[in-house]
C-alpha cells in the first residue's frame, strides 16, 4: 500500500486514490485526421515501462483532483509528484 502525496491534500493512504495509467498521452486535437493506426496508437498502445514511469493518479476519495506521479515500476518507489499540465521531472 503506497503513501501518496496528493499535491492538494498532502500525504494519504493509497486506498483514497485511483490509478489512471500512463501520463502525457494527450487526446489528439483532430482525431478525424488520423489513420486507423495512429488512432490505435492513442487508444491502446502503451509504453508499459519497467522502471521510471510517469502516470496519472486521481485523489478519488479526497479532493477528486487528477495529478501525475513518477514511479519506478520495478520497486514501486514514488520519485516525484506533480500537477496536471506540468512537465515531467527529469529523473
Amino acid at each position: 500500500m503506497f503513501l501518496i502525496n496528493c499535491p492538494f491534500c498532502g500525504e494519504r493512504e493509497q486506498s483514497e486514490f485511483k490509478a489512471g495509467g500512463e501520463a502525457h498521452i494527450s487526446r489528439p486535437k483532430q482525431p478525424t485526421e488520423l489513420s486507423d493506426d495512429e488512432w490505435a496508437e492513442y487508444l491502446f498502445m502503451r509504453k508499459n515501462i519497467k522502471g521510471i514511469q510517469f502516470e496519472r493518479w486521481n485523489h478519488s476519495h479526497g479532493c477528486r483532483k487528477w495529478f501525475n506521479i513518477a514511479r519506478d515500476t520495478s520497486n514501486d518507489q514514488i520519485k516525484a509528484v506533480y500537477k496536471m499540465g506540468q512537465k515531467p521531472p527529469v529523473i
Binding site: 491534500c9 476519495h61 479532493c63
Partner: protein, 187 residues
C-alpha cells in the same frame, strides 16, 4: 404539508462517545477558480473562504469547508426551517456567483447527512475504518479532511476538540451509521 423525513433519527450514546444526526442543515457546494469568485463569495455571505487546504472558516451563521482548490461546502451553523427549502444565502450566492459566471452554486442540503460525534473516543472510533492519520488533526480544531470510513466517502470536520461533524452521502448514511454504532458499542 409535506413531512420532513431524515434518515437515522436515532441517537446513540456510549462511554465517552455519542452520535446524533443534526438536521436540517443548509449545505451548498460552491465552485470557482477566479479571484473575483472569492471576493464575490465574501460579498454574498460576508465570510472569507478558507484557501489553505484541509481547513475551514466560520462566521456567526455559516461555516465553509475546503474540499478542493476550487470547491467548498457552505453549511449553516444552526438547523433551519423544515417547511421551506429556499435559503437566503443560496440566493445571494447565486446572484453574486453563478448568475455572473464566476462559478457554480449547488444546493446539496439532502445530498449529505450530517452526523455529529462527541466525546474523547472519536478518533478511536474512526480508526476502526478510516485510513487517515489523525495524530495531528485531533489536536487542533477547524481541520477538514475527506477520506473513507468503512469504504464510504466521508468529510470530517473537526468542529471543536472532542467534537466532529461527519458528512456522508444520504444513500450511504444508514450503512455507515450502523457500522459506526457497531464499532462504538465496543469502544
Amino acid at each position: 404539508m409535506l413531512n420532513y423525513n431524515s434518515p437515522l433519527v436515532k441517537e446513540n450514546s456510549y462511554s465517552e462517545l455519542s452520535m446524533k444526526v443534526i438536521n436540517p442543515i443548509m449545505k451548498l457546494i460552491i465552485r470557482g477558480k477566479k479571484r473575483e469568485f472569492l471576493s464575490g463569495v465574501g460579498k454574498a455571505i460576508n465570510m472569507i473562504l478558507p484557501t489553505e487546504s484541509c481547513t475551514s472558516s466560520t462566521s456567526n451563521d455559516t461555516t465553509a469547508l475546503w474540499l478542493s482548490p476550487d470547491e467548498w461546502m457552505i453549511l449553516s451553523n444552526n438547523v433551519i426551517d423544515k417547511n421551506t427549502n429556499s435559503y437566503e444565502q443560496e440566493n445571494h450566492l447565486i446572484n453574486n456567483i453563478s448568475k455572473i459566471n464566476l462559478g457554480a452554486v449547488v444546493d446539496v442540503t439532502d445530498q449529505y447527512v450530517l452526523i455529529n460525534i462527541e466525546g474523547k473516543k472519536i478518533f478511536d472510533l474512526l480508526s476502526t475504518g478510516c485510513p487517515f492519520n489523525f495524530n495531528d488533526f485531533r489536536n487542533k480544531k477547524g481541520g477538514v479532511i475527506q477520506s473513507l470510513m468503512a469504504k464510504i466517502d466521508i468529510i470530517v470536520h473537526h468542529k471543536e476538540i472532542n467534537n466532529v461533524n461527519l458528512l456522508v452521502r444520504r444513500s450511504f448514511s444508514e450503512h455507515l451509521y450502523s457500522f459506526l454504532s457497531d464499532a462504538a458499542s465496543r469502544i
